[in-house]
């Protein structure tokens, strides 16, 4: 059997850091980048006698997710304690939801690589607190616990609210998994519950993956893959793991149910110690908290305030801007990009949706990928993008010049203002016929041999020579000549034939 004879079955657990003002159970700010162990209090440090109080905003965010993912939201959900010893857990138990989560049984429609769309089942979504962060130091350990001299723990992250969204094992390929996460990320962003930055860890994905013979209904033994920090590494890790499992199965061996770590540099997954797998977490209801019972009014308010979701937004953009499905997908699935494009269209002339989309999904997206910046942080604001379009529309800039201006604006030149860049660099397109005609004549005068060959040449040669003249004229005008005008003038000035 080869990989094509196996069906890949994938389910994803997405840990989403909720963008609340404060932590899940205390008043400490929910933000990052402070010095270690300064953003803490008796509650998130789990000091003796401290007690948790649930952050209502986190509940509201979970309700929004439940609404967006069509989940059943029970009238009452409760928290449990998940007991295990780990130094980054201040209480040696994690307060989490277990068998009565706030969201159960929903679905997300995911556009798939083949152009179709499919409902992917959502098993559940539950609230839980994050742990602190270990760093392992010294001993040539390379930051890993084994062989380190000692470990340091920063509890600033302890108590940060997480929503764990668990899909059903409905995904059938690494590409589908990628599409699911991209779509989910767009949803979480649209409903304003998270800043969804995978690279910064505010969206963390663990994957359960197994293989089964094509056509079989029975699930195979799965492995859980951790440490995938981007959509790209998710795809790569799952591709690697599917192949690894196929090789194991084809050699007649059994898959060991275990957690495996994705090593981005080595491009492989490796087994974490499997003896830690058989945890008995001794779950029991958290006696320090009361059940979460969101009122009907509250849930109605959340429902009424739901913003447009990416799938609806995509349909609307295709409809109103006349753009392609692919472009619309790129806009809504790239964090912040559709907001940017809509703001630019709003600031520009009517009917500019298509032009904005071309710029935004082209040069601008390339810049985002290269720089890692978010659209909202670009020096070129949406209004600036509208300005650029206007400069092209009124003939001030040619397309090549516009690309140059865009690049300059994105790197912050002249405060990101296209008009200011055009002025400073003297880039405005020259359309003055007198000046351009003089330039054309100067080029023809300077190349009499070529003009002569043009006159006597075959059509093929004439075409080549015409390109040569056009290039020279452009150079003469320092690239600023209006190409349409130049074309016309050049045609008029060139001899018509033998």
């Amino acid at each position: 059997m080869s990989l094509t004879d196996w069906e890949t079955v994938i389910g994803l657990e997405v840990h989403c850091e909720l963008a609340t003002e404060t932590k899940l159970f205390c008043g400490c700010p929910n933000d990052f980048g402070r010095s270690p162990n300064t953003n803490v209090c008796p509650v998130c440090l789990g000091l003796p006698g401290s007690l948790p109080v649930l952050n209502e905003r986190a509940v509201e965010f979970a309700l929004r997710v439940g609404e967006a993912l069509h989940c059943d939201v029970p009238e009452e959900s409760i928290f449990h304690r998940k007991n295990y010893f780990y130094p980054d857990m201040p209480k040696n138990y994690q307060v989490s939801q277990y068998d009565e989560p706030i969201c159960g049984n929903g679905w997300l429609t995911v556009p798939l690589p083949d152009g179709a769309a499919r409902r992917i089942g959502i098993e559940r979504a539950h609230l839980e607190e994050d742990a602190g962060k270990n760093s392992h130091v010294g001993g040539g350990s390379g930051g890993r616990v084994h062989g380190a001299d000692h470990s340091l723990i920063d509890y600033n992250r302890a108590g940060v609210p997480l929503l764990e969204i668990v899909s059903k094992p409905d995904l059938r390929s690494p590409e589908e998994a990628r599409s699911y996460v991209a779509e989910l990320r767009g949803v979480l962003e649209a409903i304003g519950v998270s800043d969804v930055k995978m690279e910064e860890g505010s969206l963390r994905v663990d994957a359960n993956i197994s293989l089964r013979p094509a056509g079989s209904e029975k699930l195979g033994t799965r492995t859980e893959i951790k440490n995938m920090n981007s959509l790209r590494s998710l795809t790569h890790a799952l591709e690697y793991e599917a192949e690894r499992q196929a090789e194991v199965l084809e050699a007649g061996d059994a898959i060991i149910q275990e957690t495996r770590h994705w090593d981005e540099e080595a491009g492989r997954t490796y087994s974490l110690r499997s003896k830690e797998e058989s945890h008995d977490y001794r779950y029991f209801p958290e006696p320090d908290l009361v059940p979460v019972v969101p009122s009907a009014e509250w849930r109605d308010r959340v429902r009424a305030a739901m913003p447009e979701l990416p799938s609806a937004r995509k349909a609307r953009l295709i409809e109103s801007w006349g753009i392609s499905d692919t472009d619309a997908s790129v806009l809504v699935s790239t964090p912040g990009l559709a907001d940017y494009a809509e703001a630019a269209v709003g600031a520009a002339a009517n009917g500019s949706g298509r032009d904005v989309t071309n710029w935004v999904t082209g040069d601008l997206l390339a810049h985002l990928k290269e720089s890692g910046a978010a659209p909202a942080d670009l020096p070129l604001a949406p209004a600036g993008m509208a300005e650029l379009l206007k400069l092209v529309g009124d003939g001030t800039l040619s397309r090549p010049l516009a690309k140059e201006v865009l690049s300059a604006a994105l790197s912050g030149e002249e405060g990101g203002s296209p008009a200011a860049i055009v002025a400073a660099r003297g880039l405005a397109q020259v359309s003055d016929e007198g000046a351009l005609a003089a330039a054309v004549q100067a080029v023809l005068d300077a190349h009499p041999a070529e003009v002569d060959r043009y006159r006597t040449g075959e059509d093929k040669d004439r075409k080549k020579l015409r390109g040569f003249f056009m290039g020279k004229v452009m150079a003469e005008t320092k690239g600023r000549g209006n190409p349409q005008v130049l074309n016309r003038l050049l045609d008029a000035a060139l001899p018509t034939g033998p």
Partner: protein, 505 residues
């Protein structure tokens, strides 16, 4: 008033009035009690830590506030002994455990903060069974406390230090916690009043957790009035405790003297006829019954059949919660850290954190704590959860239902507090089950989350105090205290243990 001798043995109401009027200073009151502790606590060992200068400074603040003619709080200048389960920023908090030896919390428990706001002076932190696990204070990680009535006997527990301190007149008031009877049982054994309020009535914030769904803080005093005064100082909603009751409590102190005319009192048969009950304790319950009838209440016997399962349910639920609550004592962040040792007792330089955790817990926890952690861990384990923890919770539901049925017919219930008076030090230390049985009459209230109080009812033939217990439904503090006050008037118990030179023949 120049002599401090007249200041000890007074009630909190009296002391607060003397300070308010300016007849004595708060510092004089504090000094008088510190002097008595200094002189006599070497025999009783009720304090793990005496406030000393910290207490004097708090008293001086009260005097300064009075000098500035500021309004004084209801407990201004009154010394209060605090069980060492309550976090205090100015005194170490150990929960009676070596694993927290010397730990200074960065925050005050809500109950202590409210005491301070009312002008009370924290005179010291009292001894207890480690993490409140015990009924004799012999499980303290430091030393046992003696019963002031007979230094060869236990004061009860786990709040034995607080009960003994109030009985010995080291302070007119004390705070305790009651998870299975840890306020009421020692109050009975030491001849003072001790009350467990409704679950959620007093904030648990800043109280070291033993069993979260059962823990509740409450007052000790020599009188029911002082008990009500202390309760009203510390009770009420606290946003820092999610299980705190939001509704404002019905005032209790103001209704204390309203009497019991027409009150319906039920005597709980199963608790009065409990196996091994001392005849004198049973006789005290009968006396209480007569006192109520004389005061115009109606009394009948009532059966609450499920209470006989209470002890078993408690010893699943409490250890289960404790096994989780005590997981945080691992040597990583605060308290004791023991080095893991390899063969030959040499510290292992390469020791993994798990080995350090284990060594710390091995060295820092006492036998009873370890026993309950293991019991609770087992009860929560996969495959056993439903048979143990699940079953215990169902028993709890059953007991709640049985009591609710009883309260359809009665306003309050009557029962012994402890089946026996104080037992000798060491008598039950080797038999945990016998020790557990001394809480059989108090545990049902913890399981139902309701309130109950122990009132002194006299002395047995050996001269040891007997307590009777009044129980009321959840939120029934006002009727409970009023009913207790009637018994106090009826019994007119005025006994004070003799210590030091007073005890000399």
């Amino acid at each position: 008033m120049s002599s401090s001798d007249g200041l000890v043995g007074r009630t909190a109401v009296e002391l607060a009035e003397l300070v308010r009027r300016g007849d004595v200073s708060a510092v004089e009151v504090t000094d008088a009690h510190l002097a008595r502790i200094e002189a006599l606590d070497a025999d009783v060992h009720s304090f793990l830590c005496v406030g000393g200068d910290v207490a004097r400074a708090a008293a001086a603040d009260v005097d300064a506030a009075r000098a500035r003619r500021e309004d004084l709080g209801p407990l201004a200048g009154v010394p209060v002994a605090v069980k060492d389960m309550f976090c205090t920023t100015d005194l170490p908090t150990t929960a009676g455990s070596r694993i927290l030896e010397g730990w200074r919390p960065p925050y005050d428990s809500t109950a202590v903060a409210r005491l301070r706001a009312a002008g009370a002076v924290v005179i010291g932190k009292t001894n207890l069974d480690e993490f409140a696990m015990g009924s004799s204070t012999e499980n303290s990680g430091y030393f046992p406390t003696a019963n002031p009535w007979d230094l060869g006997r236990v004061p009860g527990g786990s709040s034995g230090g607080s009960a003994a301190a109030v009985a010995a007149r080291f302070a007119p008031l004390a705070l305790g916690t009651d998870t299975g009877g840890s306020i009421r049982q020692p109050a009975a054994l030491c001849g003072v009043v001790g009350m467990r309020p409704t679950y959620g009535r007093v904030s648990r914030y800043g109280i070291v957790a033993y069993a979260s769904s059962l823990d509740q803080a409450g007052p000790f005093a020599t009188t029911v009035t002082d008990t009500a005064l202390l309760l009203e100082t510390i009770w009420g909603h606290d946003p820092m405790d999610s299980t705190s009751i939001p509704a404002a409590p019905e005032p209790a102190l103001a209704r204390l003297e309203d009497g019991v005319e027409g009150l319906r009192v039920g005597v709980v048969r199963e608790l009065t006829e409990v196996e091994g009950i001392q005849p004198e304790v049973r006789a005290a319950v009968d006396s209480a019954r007569n006192l109520y009838e004389k005061a115009g209440a109606s009394v009948e016997v009532v059966s609450v059949p499920s209470v006989e399962y209470g002890l078993s349910a408690y010893y699943i639920i409490a250890p289960a919660e404790a096994s989780s609550n005590l997981a945080r004592y691992d040597g990583v962040r605060y308290g004791l850290r023991a080095e893991a040792r390899g063969s030959g007792g040499v510290p292992r330089k390469d020791s993994e954190v798990a080995a350090m955790n284990a060594a710390t817990r091995e060295a820092g926890f006492g036998t009873e704590v370890k026993r309950r952690i293991m019991l609770g861990t087992y009860a929560l384990s996969a495959g056993y959860y439903d048979a143990y923890y699940g079953q215990a919770q169902r028993v709890r539901t059953l007991i709640i239902r049985d009591f609710a049925r009883a309260y359809e017919r009665f306003d309050v219930l009557l029962a012994p507090t402890s089946p026996t008076t104080a037992f000798e030090l060491g008598a039950k230390t080797s038999d945990p089950l016998a020790m557990y049985l001394s809480d059989v009459c108090t545990i049902p209230t913890n399981l139902t989350g309701a309130c109950a109080i122990s009132v002194p009812a006299g002395l047995d033939a050996a001269g040891l105090p007997i307590g009777v217990q009044v129980l009321a439904p959840a939120l029934g503090e006002a009727v409970l205290l009023r009913a207790a006050r009637a018994l106090e008037v009826g019994f007119a118990f005025a006994g004070v243990p003799k210590l030091g030179e007073e005890a000399a023949p």
